[in-house]
């Protein structure tokens, strides 16, 4: 049942990325390019729209347990360190270069040719490298 819910959540997530056009790197870059004269605010509405249901959901986690699991995630970590800031800065660099972040990078796979697959493969490589670095570091 949890696997079916995960599949459904992934599908709804992918549908949201598709109808909002966040699968299209040109749309994302048009938001990030604040100096280009053709600034496109769509991404801000996507983020705002996504935060609303999640803010409600977090409130509901204050009592009880998940329907299909034993516990909700613990409180958010409060550690602000170089790894967080450096990682976020690296991510921003890659995102600004191509216009793809991890969700759209996977959602776009069936909609584009080799560039999307090459990006996803490189991203997986980067993640495995970071997993390796994290394992060594801890």
């Amino acid at each position: 049942m949890r696997i079916a819910i995960a599949l459904l959540a992934g599908a709804i997530f992918g549908l949201g990325l598709t109808i909002s056009d966040m699968v299209n790197p040109a749309r994302v870059l048009a938001f990030l390019d604040v100096a280009g004269g053709a600034w496109d605010p769509t991404l801000a509405f996507v983020m705002g729209g996504a935060i609303l249901p999640m803010a409600v959901a977090w409130r509901l986690t204050h009592t009880g347990t998940p329907f299909l699991a034993t516990k909700f995630p613990g409180p958010a970590s409060r550690v602000i360190d170089a790894r967080l800031v450096g990682g976020a800065a690296l991510f921003g660099l890659g995102w600004g270069l191509v216009g793809l972040c991890p969700g759209p990078a996977l959602a776009v796979l069936s909609l584009d040719g080799w560039p999307a697959w090459l990006f996803a493969a490189a991203m997986l490589g980067g993640m495995m490298l970071a997993n390796l670095l994290n394992r060594r570091g801890s």
């Binding site: 599908a11 996507v46 729209g49 299909l68 909700f72 600004g96 270069l97 069936s110 560039p115 090459l118």
Partner: protein, 142 residues
């Protein structure tokens, strides 16, 4: 600035779907819908929820494919420069795992619980992405 009402409303509707999907995963399975976390856990050796993360990824890839077949494939415009694509992909993978989250994990799931860590991460990656798009992208020829 371009303000196209249809684009903005579709963005809002898509965003609500993304948030609803993340809420479903949280309230039913007790999991955070951060895509970089889900993908990196799937390729990690010691993963204890791999069937769930693989199912989520299958839905994430499959639903847009179905949409493309049944409704209309959206126009996708992406750089054709292979070096830029490889560099961007590696940096995104590395950065999201080291920084523990991306647009969905920090941006949607973290900001919505007012996590200071996530708010700082979002400010940093947004600022760097804007600077990169404005100043660096024209130079490297995206």
């Amino acid at each position: 600035m371009i303000f196209n009402l249809t684009d903005v409303l579709m963005g809002l509707a898509g965003g609500l779907l993304i948030g609803a999907a993340a809420a479903l995963l949280l309230l039913a399975n007790g999991k955070i819908a951060g895509i970089s976390g889900i993908v990196s856990r799937t390729v990690r050796q010691a993963s204890n929820d791999r069937p769930e993360t693989i199912a989520f990824i299958a839905g994430l890839i499959g639903a847009p494919a179905l949409y493309g077949l049944l409704v209309a494939p959206p126009d996708i415009s992406i750089t054709q420069n292979p070096a830029l694509i490889v560099a961007g992909g590696i940096i995104v993978g590395l950065g999201t795992v080291l920084g523990n989250g991306c647009t969905s994990g920090h941006g949607v799931c973290g900001v919505s619980r007012l996590s200071m860590r996530s708010i700082i991460a979002v400010c940093v990656f947004m600022a760097v992405a804007v600077l990169t798009t404005v100043f660096l992208r024209p130079v490297v020829g995206g």
